[in-house]
Symmetry: C2
Subunit: 250 residues, 2 copies
């Protein structure tokens, strides 16, 4: 039986929208989701503005199995994710007793002041559960189907590693690619015919442009290994046929 | 007078959502928009599904000055952007006479067949205007405030170069960054005070994690050079004060 589990991502990040920071988290989440059998269906990058965060999270958490957010959970005034997620869920944003105690003890052991700014990182929506942060201690959290994680890639990846084993996963969307030495205009017609004959697959065509010439990566995706192989074989035979025809003298 | 011009981006890309292709267009568009004085306010990555594309484009074109899309304008069956944009605008998607003639002549001159697949690339919403494609000929298009471009980075960048001179631009959001050798917990309190004193600026704090230790990039943004400098000077003085204090013997 095919079981579909879906996800969306919300990146909270003025710095990504301004270009100052280049995103490195979308590709990582996409790779992990594909590997474990969750379909990443949408990504939104929104500014550090409460209304925008609330609107994106509420739109997506209603539609998809999981929502993953990155960014805005640090100690500074521009870190408004905890407040925004609380507002999205209609619950207060409060110091979490366990996070507060853990952070207080940790800073004390390092002889560092537990500043008001650092205390901000212990705030989360009432009812949220921690996502452990092995890199820099201050936890992420999840509430309902929303998982709130750091934007710094090393911390995001470590938090996601802690989240992944807890997620329900679905039937993996398997994929296989066939390299095609021709541009899309040559294979577009026959490829569409193959797609029609294999409605239980998704056949994608991705043009690649390198040093002035085009080649095409043809990707077949399916949840059944048999369906995948049947379509792949037709795609490969179609490409081989064109290669052979183009090598023939007129 | 401050003039605000905004933009959003829609990436049409199953291959980005699956992780197979890593996006390289967001950062480029963000850099260009910032450089010319347009605020990129939102990015959405949606799958190759007509309803999703229509919904995203219609939501964003109503809110922002410009919408830029990438992906899905090639000749294969999975390239459904022209149809989707036509549907979003409620107009038919037809062969564009100028694009058709140009492509027909070009393929003829190269001794190549003008296949049904290649003809697909001459389709666009009725009333759309071309965006020239100096790389691979088949044009992008714009209709209303929506600019439809290729997903292949080299072609996207070339098309965007053709679009940029035609755009209305606003007052640039200037930015300057101050490197801070401390983590955010140390400077969070005083930084929030500086933000309060400079409401005409946006002060962001971006933690950087490198080889096991944290430093912070503090970024001040403003549309007025004077406001920018006033806030920057306070941020720099605050950081210098903490450096000095931490260097003092107890």
């Amino acid at each position: 039986m095919v079981d579909i589990v879906t996800a969306a991502m919300v990146i909270i990040g003025d710095e990504i929208l301004s270009g100052r920071t280049k995103d490195r988290n979308i590709g990582h989440l996409a790779d992990i989701m594909t590997a474990i059998g969750i379909d990443l269906k949408e990504v939104r990058i929104v500014p550090d503005e409460e209304d925008e965060i609330v609107a994106a999270v509420n739109a997506l958490r209603a539609r998809y199995t999981y929502v993953f957010t990155t960014g805005g959970i640090g100690p500074t005034h521009d870190d408004i994710t905890a407040d925004s997620i609380s507002k999205a869920f209609g619950v207060p944003c409060e110091y979490d007793a366990k996070a507060y105690a853990m952070m207080e003890a940790n800073y004390a052991s390092r002889g560092m002041e537990f500043t008001e700014a650092r205390k901000r990182m212990a705030r989360m929506p009432l009812g949220a559960e921690h996502i452990d942060n092995p890199v820099s201690m201050a936890p992420g959290f999840h509430i309902g189907n929303v998982y709130v994680m750091a934007g710094v890639p090393a911390i995001f990846q470590a938090m996601l590693d802690n989240v992944v084993p807890t997620l329900k996963t679905g039937t993996k969307l398997l994929s296989v690619s066939v390299e095609c030495p021709f541009g899309e205009g040559t294979i577009g017609g026959p490829l569409a015919e193959i797609q029609k004959r294999h409605p239980d697959t998704i056949i994608g065509s991705y043009p690649k442009y390198l040093d002035g010439s085009f080649w095409t990566e043809l990707v077949v995706r399916a949840r059944s290994p048999e369906a995948l192989e049947a379509a792949r074989a037709e795609v490969a035979a179609m490409v081989a046929g064109i290669v052979e025809a183009s090598a023939k003298p007129d």
